[in-house]
Amino acid sequence: MSGAALPAAGAPGARAAAHSWREAPIQYATALLTLVLVAAPLLPVLYQSVVDRPLYDAGRQLTLGNFVRLARTEGFGLVLWNTFAFAALTTLIAQVLGTLAAVLFGRTDLPAARLLGELFLWPIYLSALVLSFGWYTVYGPSGYLTMLWNAVFEEPFWDLYTLPGMAAIAGVSLAPVAYIYCMSSATITDPSLEEAARVAGAGTFRTLSRITLPLLLPAIAYSAVLNFTVALELLAIPLVFGEPAGITVLTTFLYTQGVAGIRPDHGLAATAAALMLAVVCLLVWLQGRLLGNTRRFVTLGGKATRPRPFRLGRLRWPLFALAALYILATVVAPIGVLVLRAFASFLSPMVPLSEVLSLANFAQLFAEPIYSRAVWNSLVVSAVGGALATALIAMIAVIVHRSDFRFREPLHYAALFPRAVPGVVAGIGFFYAIALMPGLGEIRNTIWVLVIAFTMRFIPTGFGAVAPMLLQVSPDLDRAARVQGADWWTTCRRVVLPLMRPALLACYTILFISFFKEYTTAIFLFAPGSEVIGTALLHLWIQGEAGLVAALAAIQVGVIAACVAAARAAFGVRLHG
């Protein structure tokens, strides 16, 4: 040991105390901002639903007349029935496909199971709008496969312009959610439970049906409620396939009543939105209850050892062919053909591909200032808005989990509440809020209103990416800084936030992708000059510009694919679950 004397006494701790005043303003400001952000779209919707004329008109009177009017609106009962049937059918398809995929790709010796599993996930990275167009290009009336089928057989057996057709598209795009929940449940589940059944003499399929599937039930149930909620909120598929066929669901009802109509009936729209909000709140509450049960169930599990895969035996290759066909038909074909269509002037099985390949669609797209602006706006909203939202989420997370702020529980609740706010409701709500607030006129026609609305929508998503990692950082690390004289804010800045860097990067990537593909809220809020890809896609779609739609969608697919690939390569994050 060296003979060095202890360094001289440092400055008294009172110096550090001088900073302690910073804590409260930062915490209150973050909490207030979150509260305003979450309440901004909700209060106007709820208020509009109980007054007798548009919010911006003078002489408003409180009334329940809107509810009566809505109940008496012709066809509203059918709208509710369609909504329920669509959501229920979608959920059924998604759960069956997701569970089968989880067992097949996750628990058996199926060839190329990992690759198939990865491809199976792709629909959740893309917006339902792009998927709809993809399905249209392949299976629509003049779709590639439809024409091929017509040439060989008579009529195709499918029709996307029906409730089952729409539910098939939605079910396929939501099946990854069920798949993810089942997969994470299967990895936690104790493999010895299955092994015990095999040792007791149960064969592969008996073990699967009697042990594995029942153990997956909590995951299936939870993701079913989740998918049902998402299906209720879905706008793109009913808009693209339901509206032309006269099948209206709640979201398209809100869209036509709230913005697209010639004379929007705000009372009716707000009332329907309030109704939807109530239903979704109930479902989200149910999710919370089920998740509580799931956790209780999962604690039965043992170590996360890799369970031994089931042997499929003679069924191995037939099942592989079936799974590959499914992936080809629902993932590869819709996305591939849509991208192909973007690089072709015309796409038909009768015309050789080499004759139609061209970049004309892209040239035409970028010749129009609206569309290049939409692409640019989307990039700015995602890159800048994603960063701002990540900063806000990081602040919320450290306050909720790493401070003794008095209102941290209410803040936590407020931050997670947007899960219960459907995109269409948030869109209508912000639309009203901006019309109502005098100071907000400035941002009305800019992309910043989109940034605000998207941030509100995706706080829970980002929070879900950040909070688990924060909870893994030992509280001793910030306590050590506090004891040494750092106030709360310095501790956050120098210790907690730097340690959370991987989680914040993951959060940013997830928000970038979510903002980039978001369209539901945007179609209520955009104005000339603040178009984004989602709104431009719908605009082009209505004009029947199939080639331009494909080109714009291809750009979205390309950017998101690059993002996912970069994120995986850079820090190996999982962008789901």
Binding site: M1, S2, A4, A5, L6, P7, A8, A9, G10, A11, P12, G13, A14, R15, A16, A17, H19, S20, S474, D476, L477, R479, A480, A481, R482, V483, Q484, G485, A486, D487, W488, T490, R494, V495, P498, L499, R501
Partner: protein
Amino acid sequence: MAELVIENLTKRFGEVLAVDSVSLHVAEGEFVTLLGPSGCGKSTTLAAIAGLDRPDGGRIRIGGTVCFDDRSGTFLPPEARNCGLVFQSYALWPHMTVFDNVVFPLTLRKVPAAERRRRVEEVLALVEMEAYADRYPHQLSGGQQQRVALARTLVYRPAILLLDEPLSNLDAKLRDRARAWLAELRTRLGLTTIYVTHDQIEALSLSDRIVVMNRGRVAQVGPPQEVYERPADPFVADFIGTTNFLPGRVVETADARALVALGDGQRVAVRTARPPAPGARVTLAYRPEQIRIAEAGEMPAGAGSVVAARVASRAYVGGRWQLGLDLGGSPLRLETAAPPAGDRLRLWLPADGAILFQGSTDVSLV
């Protein structure tokens, strides 16, 4: 350096009283150990001193600074107390090098850059880690991490030093070395230190005074030797050192001596300052090293008693045997070099050194 005064400190977690009106006065430069089983309130007390937990009642003063007072509502945040705390987990920041970890408290105190460097080098030399300044914590062994954690605390010369089980994450051999090193450092620095541990050897070898805690209360305060030799109650006797308890009843007393009848009627003489009245229920406590197998023909004398016991179990533990005995229905543990031949043997119990507690004690509770 400063004194620490704690008065009637109380902390509740829901219904549970984690710390129950604990009072303690630690003099300047004193090394005091809080010793007790897990859940006894020692770590909660430490967290209250550091300001990491807000207590429910009482007062804490460090030097001239009142850190907590429930009457005036004073509660200083941890950063205003100038304490040094070494965590059980060391809590080194994984994203900073050793140098950055140690310089952090000096940066906070706005020490000029040149002096910062000098002081970090000095303190790293003190803990013999000067060669590792550019390493990251995960590149260090447990013992090295512990030294860096200590350096990070010493570098700003805190008013008092708080150590929360700093040796418990080291393996047994390293722990012995680290303990010797810590003892040497402590003599040299002379910092007011509160040391929390559940390890009696650490407590006995390092402390000026030991505070034994049990269920949120202070069971005994005193220098190590006093706590070991004159435990205030059966809990302390059992927690510090292994102790054999023999319940019995006083049958006869004479000046500073008592004759106690055990459960099976055998009689044992003990020396005690204030013998209880005949008929009183008592518990005798013996350290294993006080008891030995009686030599052949040895008879009870003034210095001790001889009793018969039954051998219930025996185990060879390397170089010696550990015997489990049954004496009048009470279990007794004893170590001996040679095992007895049969399952009966005679024990010699000294009259001096045995501790007599009033009342019968349910030993299984402690």
